[in-house]
């Protein structure tokens, strides 16, 4: 079964699920609305044997990096952080990569959510255990909440960390070590 056939079957139940305009290279890429993330993955796992969750990550599309996010001025190439890029949008994009180990088919699913405090998507905890720490990492780095995750707390940074480092507007506040 090709990715398009799976998409057609899923679209019958989830009309919000569409093909992405700018796909991840060499991956069938779909955009999924936030509210149906969990059910779509449940269906993909149970009906289409997508049993291996590769990656959960996110991108902040709000524009170029903020040099204040670095304690010392970073080695940004000249002109890189100047003008806001044409791609700037006020959204977080949560990216999932999933594989069916039996067939070797790979999929990329994207979920665009408005960029605000307390932005949230449903957690995949329980469907894929691999989501456990990866979602905690995304929460740590972007402050995106995963509803239904039983242990959503910071994982890599300190508890005293201010702000979410991978957000483009992150500003580093000097602490006792700087």
């Amino acid at each position: 079964m090709t990715a398009d056939e799976i998409l057609a079957k899923l679209q019958a139940s989830f009309p919000g699920l569409v093909k992405s305009e700018a796909p991840v290279k060499e991956y069938p890429t779909w955009t999924v609305p936030a509210e149906s993330v969990r059910v779509v993955f449940e269906r993909l796992r149970s009906k289409f044997s997508f049993d291996y969750l590769d990656v959960v990550t996110a991108t902040d599309w709000s524009g170029p990096i903020n040099p204040k996010g670095y304690p010392q001025s970073p080695a940004v190439a000249a002109g890189a952080a100047a003008a806001p890029s044409a791609t700037a949008k006020d959204i977080f994009e949560v990216v999932y990569l999933v594989t069916a180990l039996s067939t070797g088919m790979r999929l990329c699913l994207r979920c665009e959510i408005p960029r605000k405090e307390g932005a949230s998507v449903p957690s995949l905890y329980g469907i894929f255990m691999a989501a456990d720490w990866q979602e905690r990492e995304v929460y740590d780095m972007f402050g995106i909440h995963f509803e239904g995750h039983p242990n959503l707390k910071r994982i890599l940074t300190m508890e005293t960390q201010q702000g979410y480092p991978l957000r483009k507007d992150y500003e580093h506040l000097p602490d006792k070590f700087d």
Binding site: D51, T59, P74, A75, V76
Partner: protein, 378 residues
């Protein structure tokens, strides 16, 4: 350090703080253990003690500057990280590395795989109380370090694989040295078996300990030898071949029980396969169809500008499925670079498999996962 005190601890239970400074945590991992006598009730891994904010730093570096950060992710197998990064950037920018460079990449990454598994072999044995294998493993590892030093000048962190190819062609006399080493190393694998694999103490400390079933391994997203020891046949080199792995003739060793011993033995068998692949690469490199010196794609500038888009490339590193998710907005820097560190995902399963094991087995289980904290914390 987290100052959490266990709240729901009963009178006959005890809280043990394992790490971050502990010789057998292989770096700076901390595990908060709750034990009842000898039995672990709860094990909660605490990571981030080596968090260096690399994904943020990638956004402030050009593509070629970012390469040196990848060395420091999984520092025991630096070439794999370089290769994974370059594959992602090349996919993003639409660059194709010359065939000769691809053979050299495969050769270098298999040598690095041997070096990495040797570190595992040595340190795992030390964890189990045997010191001698460490000395043997590092003796052979130094020979590989010498080979890398000839290649690129670096012992541990290579930055040999570059975007578009490799930094230089093989130096004169290198292939002979490499063959010499591989011929020396192949029989050594049998020696390791006699030294450690058959040792009754080692067998009883690793056999049946920390068993991971196949479906749990898949659900937790494990990869590499940890996944294959549970009998799941998933190796990126076979499942999604990159470089010239499709032309290579090798088998993927699989385990049956998914215990610590199988994880150990999978790696030992993998080293044998790496030797085979390295020989095939050396034969191909000696062939006439690959022009010497042609190891860099044409027109790859140091100030590389990738067109706007997203790409994900993954490869089989020593510890598993290493992936780089690169996003470009058309500028000089990656807009976003995410690293799927196999160690990060492999170590998460500790919270499940530590429950119910004996406290002495914690070291065995942790050692058999073979994590590198640089990649866990990034």
């Amino acid at each position: 350090m987290t100052k959490e005190t266990p709240t729901a601890i009963k009178a006959d239970q005890m809280f043990i703080n394992f790490g971050p400074q502990h010789p057998s945590t292989h770096g700076v991992l901390r595990i908060a253990l709750t034990v009842e006598g000898e039995v672990v009730i709860k094990g909660d891994p605490d990571v981030g003690f080596l968090h260096r904010g690399m994904e943020k730093l990638f956004e402030a570096r050009t593509y070629s500057q970012g390469l040196i950060l990848t060395d420091r992710l999984d520092y025991i197998s630096a070439t794999h990280n370089n290769l994974g990064y370059c594959l992602a950037v090349e996919k993003l920018a639409g660059i194709q590395a010359p065939l000769r460079a691809q053979y050299i990449r495969v050769l270098a990454s298999e040598l690095n795989r041997i070096a990495s598994h040797l570190v595992f072999f040595g340190t795992f044995a030390v964890d189990m109380g045997a010191f001698t294998p460490f000395l043997y493993a590092f003796r052979e590892r130094e020979m590989i370090m010498d080979l890398f030093e000839m290649l690129c000048g670096g012992r541990l962190l290579h930055s040999y694989v570059r975007v578009g190819g490799v930094s230089a062609d093989l130096p004169a006399g290198w292939t002979e040295k490499c063959r010499e080493f591989l011929k020396f190393f192949k029989p050594m694998l049998k020696d390791y078996d006699t030294l450690l694999s058959g040792n009754p103490i080692f067998r009883s400390r690793t056999g049946g300990v920390g068993v991971i079933s196949a479906d749990r391994a898949v659900s937790w997203g494990l990869s590499g030898p940890v996944l294959r020891a549970s009998g799941v046949n998933y190796d990126v080199r076979k499942a999604d071949p990159y470089c010239v792995y499709a032309k290579m003739n090798f088998t993927v060793p699989l385990g049956k029980n998914g215990d610590c011993f199988d994880r150990y033995y999978c790696r030992m068998l993998e080293m044998g396969q790496s030797v085979e692949i390295a020989f095939q690469c050396l034969d191909a490199l000696a062939g006439a169809e690959l022009t010497p010196g042609e190891v860099m794609a044409k027109g790859v500038s140091k100030m590389l500008k990738a067109p706007a888009g997203q790409a994900y490339a993954h490869m089989e590193a020593s510890r598993g499925d290493l992936g780089f998710f690169a996003v470009s907005d058309g500028g000089l820097n990656p807009y976003r670079m995410h690293v799927r560190g196999p160690s990060f995902i492999n170590v998460a399963i500790l919270q499940e498999i530590l429950v119910g094991c004996k406290i002495a087995d914690v070291v065995a289980i942790l050692g058999s996962l073979d994590i590198v904290l640089g990649e866990v914390d990034r």
